[in-house]
């Protein structure tokens, strides 16, 4: 008799475990159902689509590898990949360093108006990008734009912000910097607050200059967060769309001048929704996927090694 309550609780416990397990599956199922229907199936369907000729409506004609062979000879496709990398290297190092330096400054004890500065830096992140894109476009106008008026008034030459290949890329990078600097700064600031203050203080007492303390202690300790923000920016620069749509689109010409600012996502959009080459756009998006996949694996490995 003495053993039976123990057996009963054990049986009861097992039954409860099974019941609990069932609920675990039920609770996580919405994600996997939606993921299967709206991500996995479309991605598989898109492979099929990339081997056909399809204009968005009407029958799909099987054409084999035609879309892919066309793609390898398509200079604009290659240009869009180059642009993805160029724009990435234009803004990511500057933004990451600037965000980190600003975070260190705002983290210093003597700073007054800390909240105000943080708020002002962060507000661009929540702002409708398409609206800001158009105001940047006016401010960057070569003849009437505010930027050039200010530059010429202090004796500097006017800049062809949106009319020159390299300046257009710089302009896009500047817009991204404006929008994302505060976001990255807030993340780095939160990271800094997890670093024990006495570590940096001890280094300064031992005779390290603030710059040495920054490069030798702060940056290594912040490494995981820096990598996190760089990974986000990688996916971001291949997926740039709103910035290009607002800043460097003239009529049906996207990514002006001379496709200098066309990005992968913009090119997919253009092929599908302007030229109605849905099947070609699918093939193009697949190659992008392969590139991003390889980049992500490299970066995940890098991250994994750190942990």
């Amino acid at each position: 008799m003495a053993a039976s309550p123990g057996v009963l609780t054990r049986i009861g416990k097992t039954l409860r475990e099974v019941k609990k397990k069932r609920w675990g599956y039920v609770f996580i199922s919405p994600f996997y159902i939606l993921f299967a229907v709206f991500s996995v199936y479309p991605i598989l369907f898109s492979i099929y689509l990339s081997f056909t000729k399809w204009k968005g409506v009407g029958p799909k004609v099987f054409v084999g590898l035609e879309n892919y062979s066309r793609l390898f000879k398509d200079p604009i496709f290659w240009q869009s990949i180059r642009n993805g990398f160029i724009i990435f290297f234009m803004y990511v190092p500057i933004m990451t360093l600037l965000a980190l330096v600003l975070a260190v400054i705002l983290n210093a004890k003597f700073i007054r108006f800390f909240r105000l500065f943080r708020t002002i830096l962060f507000i661009p992140y929540i702002t409708t990008m398409i609206a800001v894109g158009y105001i940047f476009r006016t401010m960057m106008d070569t003849n009437y734009g505010l930027f050039n008026v200010v530059l010429t008034s202090i004796g500097l030459p006017a800049v062809p912000w949106l009319e020159n290949i390299w300046w257009a890329r710089i302009s896009i990078s500047l817009l991204i910097l404006w929008a994302w600097l505060g976001y990255n700064m807030v993340i780095m600031l939160a990271g800094l607050q997890t670093i024990p203050k006495d570590m940096v203080e001890a280094a300064t007492i031992d005779g390290a200059s603030p710059a040495q303390a920054f490069f030798r202690i702060t940056i290594p300790l912040m490494r995981p967060i820096i990598i996190f923000s760089v990974i986000l920016s990688t996916i971001g620069s291949f997926g740039l769309f709103n910035e290009v749509y607002a800043l460097t689109t003239v009529g049906y010409m996207m990514g002006t001048p001379q496709y200098a600012t066309i990005t992968p996502l913009v090119y997919v959009y253009q092929q599908a929704f302007q030229n109605f080459n849905f099947s070609y756009a699918s093939a193009v998006s697949y190659i992008y996927f392969a590139i991003i996949f390889v980049l992500a694996i490299i970066q995940f490995r890098y991250l994994g090694r750190e942990d």
Binding site: F31, F38, G239
Partner: protein
Amino acid sequence: MAFMTESSAIKTKTIFKRIFIYLILILIGIFMLLPFFWILITSLKPIAEVFTKPIIIFSRNMGLFNFINAIDRGVFIRLWNTFLIAFLATALRLFFCSLAGYGFAKFRFPGRNILFSVLIASMIIPFTVTLIPLYAMMVSFRWIDTILPLIIPGAASAFGIFFMRQYIRSIPDELLDAARVDGCSEFRIYARIILPIITPGLISLGLIFFMQVWNDFLLPLVILKTPENQTLPVMIASLFGLPGETNMFTVQMAISVISITPLIIIFLIFQRRFTAGITFGAVKE
């Protein structure tokens, strides 16, 4: 005070350093706020005073006429569309994310780790790949020009589930076990015990979702065809370079003010919750 013991040379040096730092902060602050100021004054100006040399900043001719023009063009129905889509999408996402977060945090079941890895890996699938097939699917569902494609496919966000799992993990198991002994069903435990505890996290995550959907541009651009069904960002873009009406720029800026202001107000009210949400995923773990 401290400066009494310092030599005056060091004191002046630190003062100059601090002035320099404040100067840089102020310059960056101006750069950040300038576009907002420019949007606001442009929205109040007649078009004739926008592209001028020298630049006109304030003038007598300023007024609310661009806003009246925007109202005539149906800005309020777009504002309502934008709000409705953002609200419904946020509510559904919060429900599915907290439910799945609870499932991952508090249940041990075979395959849990693999399923969780799939979830994390799904975050790197770029929108570039799903855009075309998703659009084709929406065409065959006859969902084009409805709000469903903007709410349903993204209703269970992987990031949100990850966020909620981290949040719910910290709830002690004893609390849930006590409720189970009292005969509570698992869904009742979710609704009555989990939800009240995670309310701050739901607010943080909800603000992020609401902002993302509110500002979303590409998907609404390809899905919403009828002008009356469009959202504010799509309306702003649709007025640019309109054939026959070249100078809609000031009206565009009036609509931009209408699109930006609600989010800034929400942000200023919930600033602490918002930044807590943004930094949660990046800094923890």
